[in-house]
Amino acid sequence: MNTVILRTAARYLAPTLIILSLWLLWRGHNAPGGGFIGGLVAGSAVVLHAIAFGPVAARRALRGSPRAWMAIGMALALGAALLGFVFGETLLDAAWVDVPGVGPLGTPLIFDVGVFAVVVGAVSGFTLALWPEGAEPGAEEA
């Protein structure tokens, strides 16, 4: 594979995928999409980045370890779940605020963002873990 073309493509494709993933996350409550799908798309962007520029660059682009992404994602999900106690009666009891012009915002959205973060962390975690040792791009491989 021609690394130059790949790198050029990745340079533009990866940010596009990130934006797409955020859009999928945002609209997921009302149209196909959501935290999982968004997270998978964003994770794919990381994978692409890794293929083009190598795992070190991908890790840098991730702005934090996969472990941190996952921990924070789980913390967000747990926090959203526990907010049910604060605003409602039980675990995961959804609380909503109607924001004019934007629509209803609520704890399920926080929850979905947590899911998104965990999926991003997991996909990049798998990729970085499985990356063969010493196989940096540029070094010729299949």
Binding site: N30, A31, P32, F36, V119, A122, F126, A129, L130
Partner: protein, 118 residues
């Protein structure tokens, strides 16, 4: 269609099992993934899959179109797909580790504790 898809699900299981009974770790993993796909399809087919509008509430309405697809199995399968993906990712790491550590991808040569006291 139900009959046809039952056949397909059965075939996916059969193919998966056939691969799982091989000695190479990669084929076993491919087999497990096929079985997972089969299980997901089985849920979808058994709960009455048919050509139908998706369970989305169109603008202006407060419920999906009449005759829409059942959303619950979709949610279940989605969860199952992601779980399956996670577990497969770990299994791949394990397979790689196993091949590196034990020097073989042959499942018949996995050591056990029997007779291996230090």
């Amino acid at each position: 269609m139900h009959g046809l898809m039952s056949l397909v699900v059965g075939a996916l299981f059969a193919a998966g099992v056939y691969l799982m009974l091989k000695r190479e770790i990669l084929h076993v993993l491919v087999g497990l993934t096929l079985v997972g796909n089969g299980a997901n399809l089985a849920i979808f087919v058994a709960s009455g899959a048919r050509v139908a509008p998706p369970p989305l509430v169109p603008d202006g309405l407060d419920a999906p179109l009449a005759g829409h697809a059942d959303p619950l199995p979709q949610a279940l399968i989605l969860t199952a797909i992601v779980i399956g993906f996670g577990v497969l990712g770990f299994a791949l790491a394990l397979a790689r580790r196993s091949t590196e550590t034990l020097g073989t991808d042959d499942l018949d040569r996995l050591p056990t504790t029997e007779g291996q006291g230090t």
